[in-house]
Amino acid sequence: MSTAADTPAPPAGQPKRRIPTLNEMPWWVEKVVVPVVFLFGAALLPFLFDSGSGFIGTCVLALAYTVMALGLNIIVGFAGLLDLGYVAFFAIGAYTMGWLGSGFFSQVNNEEGWHIFVSGFAASLPGIHVNFLLVLVVAIIFTTIAGMFIGLPTLRLRGDYIAIVTLAFGEIIGRSAVNGDEIRLAAIPIIGGPLENAFGAEQTITAGRQGISPVDKVDLPLVEAFTSLELRPWYWVGLALLAISLFVNFRLRDSRLGRAWVALREDEVAAVSMGVPAVKTKLLAYGTGAAFGGMAGAFLGSFNNTVNADQFQFFFSILILGMVILGGLGSIWGAVLGGIALTFINFELLPRLNTVPSKVGLDFDLSEINFGIYGFLLVIMMIMRPQGLLPERRRKMELTEDADVHDETLYTARV
């Protein structure tokens, strides 16, 4: 064992040569070389395509959605808290970007705007303009707080009651985003006066369905300004976010906290009696999971160039949840694969499929049944791989083992 670990490859000239498995190689091969090679490969991918092409646009979306899937995977996969309102964190992240990086608050500072570490065009515009990296930090803070707040009323709840309460929060935030263009800051009780002085009498909370647009582009030090035509830089920023999320996810999963999540998921009573603090652990799951949604939300707000209330529908929560479950609940690589798969089905496969009937000479509009095809694919994929594309190791063990897995099946109640 130790000799195998010390010699990465058998020396030349040895009679039987075989490629050692990943487990037999030194630790740094798995932990350093493989990720670096992967990252490098992924970073080179956009050079195969035109920088303004729609394909790279889809890739950027896939990266952002995957970050969200990783966040939701912490809540649903690790901690076992079914969250149907993840869209709330997308909304909060995106609005943080919209509020702090656009001309939305046009009256501030006598219509001259506040500018914090911004360069280029945005530095001369009215409204609040904060550097993207700072917005990311603020979005993470906001969504973490929101996640914990949403988690609070669910602490006493079990099973699917959690689902409906999180769904309710998602819907409330969605409705508030749609109707926010009717709420004026000046009309808020108590703090309305100072707010009116700062933002003007007509300032609303959101721009409703019209959307906050344009939104500041990502603004990084030492790099040229981002544009909507050159998508490669967006891709690299998205990839960096994904890499950070992956690193955090792996470290969290194997940490004390990660093991506490899994323990709570498997058996709450046993975990609590072994000294796992249920309240703190659950709230941390909500908070951490939400933070990823906020980070990706802020990035998407900037990338989409609009923060529009119509983006924050229940379907979005279901889309992200679908990525997590399709990939394999609790599995990090599963969430990545699920995120990429569902994004590409939605934004590449289905639009391409629409051109097929006319190519083979049929007069049939496939775009009318896109929705149905998507549903059909979901059903088929789930029936073929109920445990997900890349199931978590622990769950795979449970599923193949016959005894005592009853709380994992559809039938049996948790008592």
């Binding site: 699917d160 998507y374 109640a413």
Partner: protein, 354 residues
């Protein structure tokens, strides 16, 4: 109770009385705060009577009856397979669509005589129930049965997939925009007026269909052999199987019952609202699921109670506050109820409430 049994000499912690009172009466206060406020404001307003409030109540109850019927489908299915059947709202939508198409097929119009209309509607009700019931059973066969032994959340995704497929069917069936259908029963026509509270034909229809159905359904589940099998399977599928109950058939039966109720709700909705579209199932599903949870998921009476409460809150909010905020207000109510009663209003009797 427990405080009384503690030996004297240990004073209760400060604030304990307040906390007890909050947990005891908080829920009642929350449930009553909107109705009481608006009833009071009606009395002190220039009308000085409760007629507007009464109208809200009547409209709320007839809308609530629809939610109650759909919510029972959720609660039955949840009680027996622990699955949030996201496709259930779409089953309700298909019920409405079948109703509308069948009207055209048998040629019912506003000019049809009352007797013919009555039997025509009765026939349509059976057709809508049969269509939705069969559909629900088929959904279970195709999308949920293969996943019986899969991880718990896998069927949730096939449910969403089925709901997309059915929405697409609705889209192809009647197109993408809301479709008006003939107002066969003149649903907004006033039938009786009690002290300024007008009861329309639509209200009567909604209650006249819902109440008998609910009674039959409760009696069926409480009294019949099949109902007993359903309750046994809900309690413990393994033990039920050992007792010779055919679990597969029982689950199919549950989906059939849920579908039948959703179909009847679809008919009431079509006649009451006189506009239908493919997306109605999504909203109805969300509201009805909320109703089921509010009442305590798995509990039939709870689902009905939840349906009526939500119908009433919606009506108050539509009429007094702003329709744009209605959904948000319903969900705020739900969260507050969950805070005070984590297993729903009547939730003690369910097996998940633990």
């Amino acid at each position: 109770m427990e405080a009384a049994s503690v030996p004297a000499g240990r004073p209760a912690a400060p604030g304990q009385a307040v906390r007890d009172a909050v947990s005891k009466y908080g829920l009642i206060v929350i449930l009553l705060i909107l109705p009481v406020y608006y009833a009071f404001s009606d009395i002190v307003s220039e009308d000085e009577n409760l007629s507007r409030f009464g109208n809200n109540l009547v409209d709320g109850l007839s809308n609530g009856a629809i939610w109650a019927l759909v919510a029972i489908g959720y609660t039955l299915v949840y009680g027996i397979v622990e699955l949030i059947n996201f496709a259930h709202g779409e089953v309700f939508m298909i019920g409405s669509f079948t109703t509308a198409s069948f009207f055209g097929f048998i040629g019912l119009t506003q000019d049809t005589s009352v007797t013919l209309l009555f039997f025509g509607l009765l026939l349509t009700l059976f057709v809508a129930m049969a269509a939705s019931g069969t559909l629900n059973v088929m959904i279970e066969r195709v999308a949920y049965r293969p996943l019986r032994n899969a991880p718990k959340l896998a069927p949730l995704i096939t449910a969403v997939g089925m709901s997309f497929i059915l929405q697409n069917v609705g889209l192809l069936w009647l197109g993408g925009s809301p479709e008006g259908i003939p107002d066969l029963i003149r649903s907004q026509q006033e039938l009786i007026n009690i002290g300024g509270v007008s009861i329309t034909r639509g209200d009567v229809l909604s209650i006249a269909v819902t109440i008998p159905l609910l009674l039959v359904m409760t009696a069926f589940i409480a009294r019949s052999r099949l109902g007993k099998a359903m309750r046994a399977t809900a309690q413990d599928p393994e033990a039920a199987r050992l007792m010779g109950i055919n679990v597969d058939t029982t689950i199919s039966l549950t989906f059939l019952l849920g579908g039948i109720l959703a179909g009847s709700a679809g008919l009431i909705y079509a006649l009451y609202q006189t506009t239908i579209w493919y997306f109605q199932g999504f909203t109805a599903g969300l509201v009805a699921f909320t109703a089921a949870v509010m009442g305590g998921i798995g509990n039939l009476k709870g689902a009905v109670l939840g349906g009526f409460i939500i119908g009433f809150i919606q009506q108050l909010s539509d009429n007094r506050i702003d329709p744009a905020w209605t959904n948000a207000i319903v969900f705020v109510y739900l969260i507050l109820i969950m805070v005070f009663k984590p297993s729903g209003l009547l939730g003690e009797q369910t097996r998940d409430a633990g």
